[in-house]
């Protein structure tokens, strides 16, 4: 039994677009703000995000890189529950005054518990990404904008 998933989150990061792009696409960075995984920034690459199972997550999510347009857009196929059709996550970046705006869209059809898990999980992960970008990201050109 699946339902419509349609998450749309926006965040502002006080760093240049290249820095935010790096945080989204560097495997070491992803391991620190999202979860450990074998991501590679290559279209078609299949990877798995692993962690401790919870009451509403089985403990692994399989993904495929569907689109990669540095430094603006990345899309992943995402399967965190046993469903027929994978869902899709799209990260979009745009330079704005003083930093970068990220839009995260996660859509598709999935189970109710998966929707609950993703709706609670992404805001936490985006906050962790903000911590990472503001404390951990190496200084980049244009960082003093």
């Amino acid at each position: 039994m699946t339902q419509v998933l349609s998450l749309n989150l926006e965040e502002f990061y006080p760093k240049p677009i290249e820095t935010v792009w790096q945080a989204l696409t560097d495997p070491a960075a992803i391991a620190e703000w999202l979860m450990p995984c074998d991501f590679r920034p290559i279209i078609g690459h299949r990877f798995t995000i692993r962690g401790n199972a919870t009451t509403n997550w089985r403990g692994w999510t399989t993904c495929v890189v569907l689109a990669l347009e540095p430094p603006r857009r990345m899309e992943w196929q995402w399967e965190s529950a046993d469903i027929d059709e994978p869902t899709r996550v799209c990260f979009e970046l745009r330079s704005v005054k003083g930093g970068t705006r990220l839009t995260l869209r996660h859509s598709g059809m999935t189970t109710r518990t998966d929707i609950e898990s993703l709706s609670q999980g992404w805001p936490i992960k985006l906050r962790q990404l903000d911590d990472w970008i503001t404390s951990r990201a190496p200084l980049a050109a244009g960082d003093d904008l």
């Binding site: 006080p14 919870t54 009451t55 965190s80 936490i124 906050r127 962790q128 404390s135």
Partner: protein, 111 residues
Amino acid sequence: MMPPSKATSDVFHAIADNNRRLLLGFLAHEARPVGACVEALGITYAAVSQHLSVLYAVGLVEREAHGRQRLYRARFEPLQEVHDWTGMYQTYWQDRLKGLGKYLNRSEDRE
């Protein structure tokens, strides 16, 4: 995805981990950035980040944005729930101490 599930988002779970208790102590008197927590605890950045999220979910830390810095500070109000719970067992110790008093009185009488 790894959100704190309902089972793990209560204050008792939040303080059940030694590193999270250390974080609360470290953030008790001063708001500090994640990097300082990583240095102080000597564990990985990823672990500190997750521990802070658990504490944040139950309100045991608050987060302030200062320009490009993010600072965390401990908040102790949610611990009231723990305090109330342990309070229920205070009468146990009061009864034990009364018992000890009676015992001592009796032994004094015998001497």
